[in-house]
Amino acid sequence: GGDDGGGGDEQAATDTGEDAGGEPQRGGTFRIQTDAFEWTGNFDPTGEYLGTALGFYSSLLVRNLMGYRHVGGPEGNELIPDLAEAEPEISEDGLTYTFKIKPGVKFAPPVDRDVTSKDVLYAFKRIGTPSLVAQYGFYYSVIEGMAEFTEKGGLSAKGTNEISGIETPDDQTITFKLTEPTGDFLFRLSMPAAGPIPEEVAKCFMKAGEYGRFLIATGPYMLEGSDNLDATSCKSMKPLPGFNPNQRLIMVRNPNYDEATDTKEARENFVDRWEMTLNTNAQDIFDRVKSGSVELAHASEPPEVIREYTQNEDLKKNYHSDPGDRTWYITMNLTQPPFDDIHVRKAANLIMDKEGLRRAWGGSVKGDIAQHIVPDTMFNDELEDYAPYATEGDAGDVDKAMEEMKQSKYDTDQDGMCDAPQCKGVLHVTRTTDVWKAMVPVIEESFRKIGIQVTTREFEDSYTVIQTVKRQAPVSSTPGWGKDYADASTFMVLFDSRSILAEGNVNYSLVGLTGEQAKEVGAAGTTSGIPSIDADIDECNKLQDDERLSCWQDLDQKLMEEIVPWVPYLDANADFVTSDAVTHYVYDQFAGEPGWAHIAMDPSAG
Amino acid sequence: MTEIVEPSGAARAGRRSGEEPLVSVRNLTKYFPITRGIIFQREIGRVHAVEDVSFDIFRGETLGLVGESGSGKSTTARLITKLIESTSGTVSFDGQEITKHSRRQMRPIRREMQMIFQDPYSSLNPRQTIGQIVGAPYVIQKTERNVKRRVQELMDRVGLNPEHYNRYSHEFSGGQRQRIGIARALALNPQLIVCDEPVSALDVSIQAQILNLLRSLQDDFNLTYLFISHDLGVVRYVSDRIAVMYLGRIVEIGSASDLYDNPRQPYTAALLSAVPKGYGENGAGARERVVLKGDVPSPVDPPPGCVFHPRCPQARLVSGREDEVPEKCRTEMPPLGEVDSGRFAACWYPVQPGQPLDLAAKA
């Protein structure tokens, strides 16, 4: 589900790489500890949709036609050719994309051969194969013939089955034909699912996630043990020791990687070996980072760690915080009282103590207060000053909120307090993790100030609750959303009524829900007066470049003022703590993760 | 191998002419299953606690029941009072067969027969006052309005201070506790009182007090007693007739003095001879002590034939050999046959009056 680690991809803005003096050295074993192996679904690029995994693929393991520089700031969100020799040729009508593939890019052992256009095509065939459950397969439905291919069963179909819109006239050339102009198609192509996959190995793994433990790399690193894989038959292949979905990820240099086929701009590859392991005690991870037995903590820092690292001069250099292109928000259900009244939703935005919420996260280093939907960095900060519900000190403003509340039908005596029976015992769904628990009192107290009494339910698996329409949670502070790539469309899907599902729904506010649809998906609340922005989304999607950008900006504002589905409160940063041994830290804007491809450490450590 | 004894057989045992017995027991048998199993209980054996027992108790008399530990005395008592269900056989009370009675049907009959128990400690609920204990029969049977007055009358009658109505049993001595138990049994004015070793746990001096009390109550209320004890002296002292049990069976029954003077069943004889004689006035009636060999066999697996044969001195006497018993004793259980008028003994070779009971004596 839309996990916090999920889909965190971002655009580049600033290179936050810090040099700790001297040239970065090659070598070393980079040890990472994580407090839960939940950063990956199952590591099969076709199905994987979690940010951390996407970061590993993109920078270390899988080379897509187009790729990123793996640095922070706007630069990090720009695409450069990676597997492709150069930018593609795009037809006039914007429907045909032709790529030339670099020669000399080889698969890691045991495949040991050049990557060809067929390997890329094969990746698309896998995306189109239902049994492999490509989680963001919908991005590629604009490719001609993709839907038919899937319908026939993809690779599992009997007889020949081809994607009509993808052609590979020779090993070096690949062409994509689209059914409609798609301004962000190149971004979509840079998602790891679209990276080359060797059929000889992957054909053995036709169920979701199976291939994850046999991933054959094209990037500078590969899963440990890849060279020992006996690929002579399906039966003979044993899972690579380098990846155990519950315990470890170990990557070593790929002997078949040729630096000449890559640029230092994208990858520098200082480190020899990566080891990511599990430590269920987060506190202990940070202790270890501090003492130097671990290089990087892949866990959310407790406030005390943040304080220590930001206040202590010696440690400051080891704390890294960069915009994560991710918004955290409170979602309000447009069908459920009292949130079916826009004035209540506006009042909620005005009353919420956003600074209080941010402190629950660890304070200002955790990000900026969010004032609208799409993170500012994705709009090149053009909406930085747009703050329709700003309040003094972001503490919430009782007067303004009550003013708004007065206009609501739930304030029967117009005293600014929600006093209808619907204002009592409003179900608020959240998760059981630290930060969310810490937010609960702030949310409850804020709502209380305008007369809304919420009853909080904490779930380990709160996403599955709010993603099930039937459960009708009126308000939830569970969600956050990160970009898949640097285009606002990846946020707007959250308000597209066509994506509303009975289960697995991500349009939690049910924007655009019609009465008919409500029946279908089991929504019981009121649907009258719910506006739709489907048309606006379609409009923007057709556009390119600056037009596109401002179209999204307008839509964001419309959402915030005319629909108000959320109380956005945090433009989250991605922050990491490293040990003294890390001599060169770079942030990867695309993945919202450390820029592994550029990080360097003191090889003598560890 | 339960032999059906014609009602006439044992029924006649000690019958006083023309009188209807108050209790009449016929072929009463009780097996306790020995079960094993975690969920489904399988029977892996059965304790032959009471086997084919028949006797009568007449109004106003005291029938003593003696036998060693485990011989089935208490079980017989419980069967008669219907605290447990019999395996087979019948019990009639006051002409009414009660074996098949439901608890509801038993309710009125319960008033007519009561029990006094052995252990004055465990037979009184430590969490209840004397008033509650003695008054319980009234409360349950709903026969009395002024429970307190009745209870205090009873307490007075059995020699307890009525002012102790609200005391708990632990504030009393063993003898006093036994009096409480007696008061409880008397509460409903029963005809029959089954006394299961009522004095075994008491010291001699107290024991005598209780025996005297029981005797005077019998006279006052025309009670009928079934008096169980393993103390032959006590049984002898209180009983009109005595039945001797061994391994679940009655092996001999007859009038008290007859039976003591002249035991006919070898077991009875051995039992009597084993009793410490105490200090008889002139050592009168002193009999040679017959020390039985071995222990009582397990009731789970009683010996075939006569249950006493493995230990029986008479059988050895008859066969003339220490290690041999007559065929008949080994294979067939002797019926409780009349050996004298009013005397019944289950033995193929009843002891003759005056006959010594050991091999050496014969040799």
């Binding site: 702030v442 339910r457 | 037979s123 349950i140 005297n212």
Partner: protein, 324 residues
């Protein structure tokens, strides 16, 4: 004819006739005499009284402190990193992560712990006693069913099942079992009771098995008492002492159980202060906010220790073997 009336005494002295026993003191007196001497138990009792008072007076204490249990002092009592500030004149135990007055919350937390511990235990005791007596008294099929159920429950991973039940029952506003079990406090109590009653039932069953062999049961039956009367009027009063002892032993366990559930995020909601949850919240930052770990921990230990001391004392005092 012998009479019971004592033989008229020929004693030349008018001495009182012996007959009234000099008997030992009642069990209650004995119990009290022993208990009075057990300083640890008295300390436990005193602590419990004190804690109950603190819990009961939590609202008053909150008034005196001037802070509600859920009143936020985010700006005053947390720093810019959201780390709470420590004890000071106004917040004598410091603040929690949301800047709430930890002292006031702890007072309320004591109340929650006591309520959960006591109510859940009472529930469990009730179920355990009824089923335990039934199993021991009826034996046979009833016993088999109850005892086997106990076996099954005792071989389940408790915390895991607690997670499952908690998740299942808090999914909707109505809760589960047709709304009988509402998420929150009642759910926690339900879960604890579900997993605690078997222990009591076992003990009660064992005692009932031996009690039912006592002659006074037979006596009751012989005057026509029915099963219900025997079970609840004859047997139950005799189980009171072990049940009380066991209850005092189980209460602290259940208080810790609640704390553990809260520690795993399954406990009572945040609005209802719980010591376990405070410890959970504190566990991530206790190296910087020692008071956040220390005070709730201290009071939690005080509560459980108090009950344990009392339980030990009761056990010693009620159990005759400690006389030896």
């Amino acid at each position: 004819m012998a009479t019971v009336a004592p033989e008229t005494t020929q004693a030349p002295l008018g001495l009182a006739v012996a007959g009234e026993q000099v008997t030992g003191r009642t069990p209650r007196q004995l119990f009290w005499a022993r208990f009075k001497k057990d300083r640890a138990a008295l300390l436990g009792l005193a602590l419990i009284v004190l804690l109950v008072l603190l819990g009961a007076l939590a609202p008053l204490i909150s008034k005196l402190a001037g802070h509600g249990p859920n009143e936020l002092f985010t700006r005053e009592m947390t720093d810019e990193f959201g780390i709470p500030l420590g004890p000071n004149g106004e917040f004598i135990f410091g603040a929690d992560k949301s800047g709430r007055d930890l002292f006031v919350r702890i007072m309320y937390g004591i109340r929650t712990s006591l309520i959960v511990g006591v109510v859940a235990t009472l529930f469990a005791v009730f179920i355990g006693v009824v089923l335990g007596i039934a199993a021991g008294y009826f034996r046979g099929v009833v016993d088999t069913i109850i005892s086997r159920t106990i076996d099954v429950i005792l071989s389940m991973p408790i915390l895991l099942f607690a997670i499952g039940i908690a998740a299942a029952c808090s999914a909707t506003a109505t809760g589960c079992l047709n709304g009988l079990v509402k998420p929150g406090l009642s759910l926690v109590i339900f879960i604890i009771a579900i997993f605690t009653w078997p222990y009591i039932a076992r003990i009660v069953r064992g005692s009932t098995l031996s009690l039912r062999e006592k002659e006074f049961i037979e006596a009751a039956r012989s005057v026509g008492a029915g099963n219900g009367r025997i079970m609840f009027r004859e047997i139950l009063p005799n189980l009171v002492a072990p049940i009380i002892v066991y209850t005092t032993v189980i209460i602290p366990n259940n208080i810790l159980f609640e704390a553990a559930l809260s520690f795993l995020g399954l406990g009572v909601p945040d609005r209802i202060p719980s010591l376990g949850r405070m410890l959970d919240d504190a566990s991530a930052i206790f190296e910087d906010a020692w008071w956040f770990m220390f005070f709730p921990g201290l009071f939690l230990i005080l509560i459980t220790l108090a009950f344990n001391l009392l339980g030990d004392g009761l056990r010693d005092a009620l159990d005759p073997r400690s006389d030896r």
